[in-house]
């Protein structure tokens, strides 16, 4: 029999998380049930990869033999789309170096999915249904998180103008200004009593999003905020190989300027996009965060394995 009086703090911490882990286990099952009911196939793409997606501000950890721990399964999942799969999802760990905080973990669980033939507005309707089905299955009380009310959808330009008196496009041109205005002035004023969606970002902030056909200075991208916390990001996916290569070069250039290493060329992904990825929309949802929000917690510390 273990001696209760000598239980180390590190174990007491885990015991304190048992209820959250049970809640999370139910959330995992419900997520898989939902995707199965929507004719999705669960895929498991490699976690250690040769070439991560180049992004300006996301850093993938590197292993000793030169592989990277992926920061998202995006490139591999898009190869599957090019290979002919139409509705796929992945629920597994991703890594982002140096990201630690109330809402960040270097190692976290991403729920990412792609729908061939869908646009980003259809993707939003789908994601709302997913989150509602989780809240229902987990018996989340409305006072913790009411996701059944009408969601507020605000274009980014309007949000910047109305909530911060700022011009989103001008902010986007200056290093770190868009982000600063977003976190200091826009996000705190987003409604907390209902989920909220920021939609149509300046093109610079749509790394893998296609430009809106009617206004190419905007990217087909949205972000869902629940209780003020950013929880899911979606794109109308960029499928133009010329534009994609241009962006990779630009991001790598930016990485060099910021003193970060250049990533190897994502050769197989570029082969796939040149061959042809069908018009599609994809969404990435921070699984730890949605668990946190539906559980009624304020920090990932309350629901994830201790750091």
């Amino acid at each position: 029999m273990p001696n209760a009086s000598t239980k180390p703090d590190s174990l007491a911490l885990l015991s304190g998380l048992a209820r959250a882990f049970e809640f999370r286990s139910n959330a995992l099952s419900l997520t898989r049930d939902f995707f199965r009911s929507q004719d999705f196939i669960e895929v498991e793409t490699p976690i250690a990869i040769r070439a991560p997606a180049a992004e300006e501000y996301i850093e993938a950890p590197q292993t000793k033999d030169g592989l990277f721990l992926r920061s998202s399964p995006e490139l591999e999942m898009k190869r599957l789309l090019a290979a002919g799969m139409k509705r796929i999802y992945e629920l597994s760990p991703c890594f982002r170096l140096g990201e630690n905080g109330r809402l960040h973990r270097q190692e976290f669980t991403m729920l990412e999915w792609y729908m061939a033939g869908a646009d980003y507005r259809e993707m939003l309707d789908f994601t709302i249904r997913l989150i509602r089905s989780l809240a229902k299955g987990l018996n989340v009380p409305d006072e913790i998180c009411d996701v059944f009310c009408d969601w507020e959808i605000i274009p980014v330009r309007e949000a910047f103008r109305k909530l911060a008196g700022a011009d989103a496009d001008q902010c986007a041109d200056e290093e770190a200004l868009f982000e600063t205005v977003l976190v200091e002035q826009v996000e705190p004023k987003l409604p907390k009593d209902r989920p909220c969606v920021l939609i149509d970002y300046p093109i610079r902030f749509g790394a893998f999003a296609r430009p809106k056909p009617e206004d190419p200075t905007l990217a087909e991208r949205w972000e869902i905020y629940i209780r003020g916390v950013e929880v899911a990001n979606a794109y109308g996916e960029l499928i133009d190989p010329v534009e994609q290569e241009k962006r990779f070069r630009k991001y790598n250039q930016k990485r060099r300027e910021n003193g970060l290493s250049e990533y190897p060329e994502a050769t197989e992904f570029l082969e796939a996009i040149r061959y042809g990825i069908p018009a599609s929309s994809g969404c990435a949802l921070g699984f730890d965060r949605i668990v946190m929000l539906l559980f009624g917690a304020k920090s990932l510390d309350e629901v994830t394995y201790p750091r």
Partner: protein, 191 residues
């Protein structure tokens, strides 16, 4: 000046901005999707007590203040200054009363204190937590209110310092004052 990188910032770290030392009282790592990381801090000025919010970007550098903590004994009061002796070097250190504020009223000979120096100048001092004082002046408490400790009345101690005490405290009573707040803590039982 030595500098910190933005990624060094964390709760409790002391930094220098505009010539003042600040402590980070609240810290949050932010990273709006696809954007650069931001380090959001709530800061408290160690000299004025003022608070402010400041957001740092990964490229930002932040000054490391020249702060030193030294242990000292109080020796005597010379009017505008209080004079201390450094416990290690035995050097005499003068701290102006305008920095000490009310704390100057709670110094007793040989009291062991912790002083904080910024660029070599004293900016704050921590006294022994309890100061024992005798009430020299206070109105008698109204009858029937003696059981209540929430109702307070003004009182003065022997060195002239004024504070609020519970109604049951009488002239001649010995009390404990919390030197961090300058407020009444409890009555000391007479032997």
């Amino acid at each position: 000046m030595e500098m910190y990188s933005a990624s060094d910032l964390k709760k409790g770290l002391k930094i220098e901005i505009d010539g003042y030392p600040w402590v980070i009282t609240d810290f949050d790592f932010c990273k709006p999707g696809k954007g650069t990381a931001l380090y959001r801090c709530k800061l408290k000025n160690l000299m004025t007590g003022a608070s402010m919010d400041r957001t740092f970007r990964p490229v930002d550098k932040v000054g490391k203040p020249d702060l030193e903590e030294r242990e000292m004994h109080f020796i005597y009061d010379e009017g505008d200054n209080c004079v201390f002796s450094d416990s290690e070097t035995y050097d005499e250190v003068r701290i102006p009363k305008e920095i000490l504020g009310n704390k100057a009223k709670f110094l007793v000979e040989d009291a062991l204190c912790q002083a904080v120096f910024f660029n070599g100048n004293p900016i704050d001092i921590t006294l022994p937590t309890w100061y024992i004082a005798v009430i020299s002046e206070t109105e008698p408490g109204a009858r029937g209110d003696t059981a209540s400790s929430n109702v307070m009345k003004p009182a003065k101690i022997e060195n002239g310092y004024e504070l609020m005490v519970p109604l049951f405290i009488n002239q001649g009573d010995t009390i404990k004052i919390d030197t961090r707040t300058g407020e009444y803590a409890e009555r000391v039982n007479k032997a």
